[in-house]
Subunit: 263 residues, 4 copies
Amino acid sequence: MTSIKVLEKPKLKDPILIVGLPGIGNIGRVAVGYLIEELKAKKFAELYSEHFFPFVVLHNESEIKLLKNYFYYWKAKKSGQRDLIFLTGDCQSQSTEGHYSVVEKIIEFVEKLGVKEIFTIGGLATGEVEEEPIAYACVTDEKLIRKYKKYDLDFNLGRKVGYIVGAAGLILGIGAEKKMKGVCILGETSGFPIVTDPKAAEVVLKILTKILKVKVDMSKLEKRVKEMERFIKKIETLQRKAVMEMLKQEKPEPEKEKLRYIG
Amino acid sequence: MTSIKVLEKPKLKDPILIVGLPGIGNIGRVAVGYLIEELKAKKFAELYSEHFFPFVVLHNESEIKLLKNYFYYWKAKKSGQRDLIFLTGDCQSQSTEGHYSVVEKIIEFVEKLGVKEIFTIGGLATGEVEEEPIAYACVTDEKLIRKYKKYDLDFNLGRKVGYIVGAAGLILGIGAEKKMKGVCILGETSGFPIVTDPKAAEVVLKILTKILKVKVDMSKLEKRVKEMERFIKKIETLQRKAVMEMLKQEKPEPEKEKLRYIG
Amino acid sequence: MTSIKVLEKPKLKDPILIVGLPGIGNIGRVAVGYLIEELKAKKFAELYSEHFFPFVVLHNESEIKLLKNYFYYWKAKKSGQRDLIFLTGDCQSQSTEGHYSVVEKIIEFVEKLGVKEIFTIGGLATGEVEEEPIAYACVTDEKLIRKYKKYDLDFNLGRKVGYIVGAAGLILGIGAEKKMKGVCILGETSGFPIVTDPKAAEVVLKILTKILKVKVDMSKLEKRVKEMERFIKKIETLQRKAVMEMLKQEKPEPEKEKLRYIG
Amino acid sequence: MTSIKVLEKPKLKDPILIVGLPGIGNIGRVAVGYLIEELKAKKFAELYSEHFFPFVVLHNESEIKLLKNYFYYWKAKKSGQRDLIFLTGDCQSQSTEGHYSVVEKIIEFVEKLGVKEIFTIGGLATGEVEEEPIAYACVTDEKLIRKYKKYDLDFNLGRKVGYIVGAAGLILGIGAEKKMKGVCILGETSGFPIVTDPKAAEVVLKILTKILKVKVDMSKLEKRVKEMERFIKKIETLQRKAVMEMLKQEKPEPEKEKLRYIG
């Protein structure tokens, strides 16, 4: 089961969903996390799933928390702006089949909230340190390119890569089945084992805030990203350790003693 | 889904279930297969499952068949005998979690047919060629030992092994939850990669026919087992090949070309 | 979940299902793809599944698409012909257990459309470059051999192989449970890592069009197959890369730092 | 399916759930097992699951038992005490996704019994032999630290580790979703391949009995733990062997003969 606990039922008008989950360089996660803080968006729902890793993490030294994804909302303050829903979280599905079922649950949930447009944020690993990273984009419908090409987005993504793994892609793909329009924005990043890439996140954030017509003070970004990094790094390290432990449990070393078996 | 197709609804009186599925030395399968033939038991139901290997086999050169388990029945001919249900088949679940769900389905099905007693047949791999193999047994309730100790069964199985993997054990364990009494009979076999062990099957069959009070001509056993072996060997080889193919598909060799990825 | 979106509800009279999904040499896929184009068959339903790879692909550089299977229909134009349903797609299930559940969904869907006969097309990897590849066939019921032996089909498939992995076999096996008659036609191909084998596809197509009594201009086959190849190759490469990435995520390298754990 | 068989419906007043399942050093299991014996708690429910290993174990040489978790209850004898429910068992889920579904079932079950507080017991592997092991703790809500800091518990667990794998953590995490308050107590142990660590169990037991205001004679602990060890060791060895067998079955050695395949 994948279960969503609703903390509050916000009334939203034609909201846009903005998704930033953990991934390459954690660009989506830190960009969306920063937006949530700067806009003072409010948490209204939490999701957890059997498809997440089977462990709890300790916050503040001794407080147990399930791994979760979180939904926040923000209401438009002035004309030209739109109500926003943010989706961020500690992790994505740990199994390949789980991705579809978690994403189905997310789409079903936001459909009821009136979402007809989605932006997902991620990273494009180039294998090189990019001095001036740019942002790529792809869409659920080619007509959307016309609408967004005025922003600083490179739509020739297919020449670089041909697919998007995990939630950033599946949310748009399954959303499109429900007639939701979607744009995926990917910040260029080295893909080297760095935990967060604030530079690429900044490039993406500048474009996203222009599209959403919201003003966000970027000056604290690098500092805040470094703060977020501690927690993100912790969960990543824990996941890696947990996977190792689980693998050790699943594939124990052969015993010396003679093996008798029946069946 | 695990699905059972009923070909005929036999009226049976207090039937005993006898289970012989593929396993070590295929002792259960050939013993039960031989009983089915000699008693001319009638097939009345077929089971297939998503937990079996995802391929079909060719019978008689060009006829496609799903992998299945089969139910047969035989009605008592004289007093002292009991109506019998036989369960045999091409394979067991290919995944660890599938075992429980296939066995649950089997128990649910035979419970409706009035089964309150079960015998499962298997092999005990000793790692040595046994000149005069014996038969071990274990039970769902220690009181049953008293009833069956007069037969040539060694009930000190726990000194040899401590568990039974797969359907031969789980059918009894889950059956016991439904108050079914169960006995597992295991023929001693080397466990070397032999496909079928007719000698161990014969030891088990002699005991089983005594318990069931049925007369079976044993003279054709070795010949029939050799005939069955051809088909059993084919499926085993195919399963091994299929697993290899599936593993190859799942774990492809890294490509030389540089890997760019996004998400 | 495996979900089928119906775009149009065609009224079909006793239609035959023709299945060509990705596989060895992509023979089924390119043969059926060519038939769909040449007959101008119309797409009427799309299937996607949690059992497919959890990523989206980019079409035309920047348009996101879920991995899908597609249903097309074609109505008979003259007497002797039959209404046809084609099933083709981007991929098959990526997990062993998923195959059964995707195929069950397909059979359930086409049963409602009145399908009682199925042809599946695949490849037989011989390990050798075949100058003049032939086509093998197997059936769900041996009586069908009489009907189809007049076509250029070798029914001694069992001597070459003994099983059919994946959808080409399971669709017939599970279809047979619903009393559907089925024939599997396999074009001989080397099985070397070639993406598409137009020669083997042509052999199969010639036989299939004779059986179906449809006329198809074969002259464009090689050219069209080369065009299709680009897209097929892209998805295959992507799947391979995606699997590698997922494996990397699932089995991270051990860290140097001391491992403390609890539970 | 995960199924709970209720043997008796005890009437309990505001009971506390105490969980000790197999894990590092089996500290939870032996501590809770000893409490159950000393308090003469009564078994009232049994749980088994498709997520456990697919085999049965032999008790007393020849009696077949499914792998299970067990629920016991104990009613308060004097003022200041509380009714208690104990959860212990043979094993935890063998797959990562199974953990969530087994724990959901447990929480659902104990919620109906009125549970609003939970203690889970486990081990913290330090990698060193601890002469005087201490006990760490973490909580579902930081306010609980105030209540429990008077006991000999170190709440700076986050400095040692950052997560809890398996049931000990998930039961608290998912319990918290149902507003249950939870404390996890972890005894320091080497984590070397020892089966049971009575010393660490004793440290935890002393604290737990103080919290629960129950008196337990500790003098038999070491002796009883050694007795329990035999059975625990047996199941652990069997699980290890069973996993090896299953892995062997799943990943057979390549055959020499040429591989032909089709699909």
